[in-house]
């Protein structure tokens, strides 16, 4: 048997297995088994994919390829999944709907892995749909809460439209090349052996729009703040990190590899979308009073920064995208984990006001939040700054100086809203009406510490991480 598919099989098998404890055994077992199984499955899948680091292996009739890029992204998804499980342990959705919650989470991670390793249009579409459908349900899983339902339904409708646009684009891509294999598409495009140039243009526009919806990049971002706000916070964390990474993986696989020879046709559209996302995200973030919505707008802007690297179409650009995905995951999980803590400790924990006085009452958590937010803003010398520096540098090398300028200006604007929660934490006094003091629990504190350490490790070890990212980016175009 081919071992390339083992991480995928482990994830799917654990997802199915996580449903079983609901049927048998004592109450304690029923309560603790699903999250434990989920953690085990994610860890096992992560270990297996590390073992697969190396030259390309293919499986499922060449529809799924495991190269260094797949391994690196699978690790991002798995780590994001593990942190989400730890954040979920005391969430109402995680407690009330244990089995299906963890089953769907594992399914979503499996879908993302399928996207990251897609070597075929069918596999890519299937992966995107598996992760989307699982997340529609996860958003709405707190069915007793109107906002959660509303968030799930909105995500479903917008996501389905995005999927339909993407599918029509993939259909045209199949139509002009006559093959669904991404490697063969690259050959046909290189040889200009196409059924129609204008159809290819249409295909690219539709694919960019469809994936733009999934990544939450402007002008396809309208759903993001509402859905992020209504969904359970751990799920929002997962959406903001892993889903974004999966959409970027699809961008890299299609545009960075299969369509690289027609870069002149897609460079400008993707660059424009990146610039729009940066402007819309950063300006929208300025007007928010809710910390959760602020982070939602921040994630729109971050999708823009990541798309800069895709638009360059170079090896440096892809390396920078991967580096920034890893750094972005660490800092975003940290920021959301602090919000999970405040949600449990005080009323109205999603607002910026709820952060007031955190610096005095819990200096360690406040310090991690500060590091993560400054890193998101691109404050030197933190990991976010290094990542942005690499992205803007790659853009300048690829004749996209204007895009680098937009990105840099956007980063400066973004300081305007990233500094507000920091100011609230350190300079304002806590308000007595906020007091509720529920113990947030050790797992959440662990997540906060891990993400803080992650950002610092990425800052200090940027050189080694870049090496790994470069190796992964090289495998993107390797035969």
């Amino acid at each position: 048997m081919n071992i390339a598919a083992t991480p995928l099989i482990i994830l799917i098998a654990t997802a199915a297995l996580a449903l079983v404890p609901a049927l048998v055994g004592p109450v304690r077992f029923r309560r603790d088994a699903p999250p434990a199984l989920a953690l085990l499955g994610l860890a096992a899948a992560g270990v297996m994919s590390v073992l697969l680091w190396g030259d390309r292996r293919a499986t499922f009739y060449e529809a799924f390829r495991v190269d260094r890029l797949t391994v690196l992204l699978t690790l991002v998804f798995v780590v994001s999944g593990i942190l989400t499980v730890l954040l979920s342990l005391r969430e109402p959705a995680g407690v009330d709907r244990r089995p299906e919650y963890y089953c769907l989470l594992l399914c979503a991670v499996a879908g993302m892995t399928l996207v990251a390793g897609a070597a075929d249009l069918i596999g890519m579409f299937l992966g995107i749909e598996i992760l989307s459908v699982a997340l529609y349900v996860l958003c709405a899983l707190e069915v007793w809460r109107e906002r959660s339902l509303e968030s799930g339904l909105k995500y479903l409708i917008v996501g389905a439209v995005g999927s339909a646009l993407l599918l029509y684009g993939l259909t045209f891509l199949f139509g002009v090349t006559g093959t669904t294999s991404l490697a063969d598409i690259a050959l046909r495009v290189d040889a200009r052996d196409l059924g129609g140039e204008s159809l290819l243009l249409g295909a690219m526009v539709l694919i960019i729009a469809g994936l733009g919806f999934k990544a939450g990049a402007a002008p396809f971002h309208m759903w993001a703040p509402d859905v992020y706000e209504g969904a359970p916070t751990p799920i929002t964390t997962f959406m903001a990190t892993a889903v974004k990474a999966a959409a970027l993986a699809a961008f890299l696989r299609i545009f960075g590899a299969a369509l690289i020879d027609v870069i002149d046709d897609w460079k400008t559209p993707i660059a424009v979308i990146a610039a729009l996302a940066i402007v819309v995200g950063n300006v929208g973030g300025l007007m928010q009073s809710s910390f959760k919505r602020l982070l939602a707008y921040s994630s729109i802007a971050q999708a823009g920064y990541l798309l800069i690297g895709v638009a360059t179409g170079t090896l440096d650009g892809a390396t920078a995208v991967l580096f920034y995905i890893i750094a972005y995951t660490a800092m975003t999980v940290g920021a959301f984990a602090v919000m999970v803590i405040r949600e449990r400790e005080v009323e109205d924990g999603q607002s910026i006001a709820a952060l007031a006085g955190l610096g005095r009452s819990n200096p360690i958590v406040a310090a991690v939040a500060t590091i993560c937010l400054l890193s998101l803003a691109g404050f030197p010398p933190l990991a976010g700054f290094i990542g942005k520096f690499m992205l803007f540098g790659a853009a300048a090398d690829a004749d996209l100086v204007w895009l680098a300028v937009v990105g840099a200006v956007g980063s400066v604007i973004s300081l305007g809203y990233y500094l507000r929660p920091i100011y609230a934490m350190w300079a304002e006094d806590s308000r007595p009406e906020h007091a509720r003091s529920l113990d947030p629990g050790a797992p959440v504190l662990f997540v906060v510490l891990m993400s803080g350490l992650g950002v610092l490790a990425m800052t200090g070890g940027a050189h080694w991480v870049t090496e790994v990212c470069r190796a992964a980016a090289e495998s993107l175009i390797a035969p």
Binding site: I122, E129, L156, F174
Partner: protein, 101 residues
């Protein structure tokens, strides 16, 4: 010889455009789901057409996968709509304005 590719693409484009129009102007989530289904099936028609044109079965396999995916999406969508209905929220996406900043 069978029907030329152009007719497949015309029908497919028509279905897709109709679906997109429906998504843009309808407000009832049930009809929105219906419109999205039209878009997906428009793509399916094109897939079958291209599959015949290239004389390969890949497009047909793709279309089968899309049908399964579309079914899954509708199941989730109807489930959510029923859940919303039980919460007695009006079935009108313009009325869904709890989430606004």
């Amino acid at each position: 010889m069978g029907i030329s590719l152009m007719y497949y693409l015309l029908v497919s484009g028509g279905l897709f455009a109709l679906g997109l129009l429906g998504v843009l102007i309808r407000r009832n989530p049930l009809l929105l789901l219906l419109s999205v289904e039209l878009m997906l099936n428009g793509a399916n028609v094109a897939l079958i057409g291209f599959s015949r044109h290239w004389n390969s079965t890949d497009g047909q396999v793709f279309a089968l996968v899309v049908m399964v995916v579309a079914a899954a999406e509708v199941v989730i969508g109807l489930g959510l709509i029923v859940a919303v209905f039980r919460q007695r929220i009006a079935l009108d996406v313009d009325g869904m304005d709890h989430l606004k900043g």
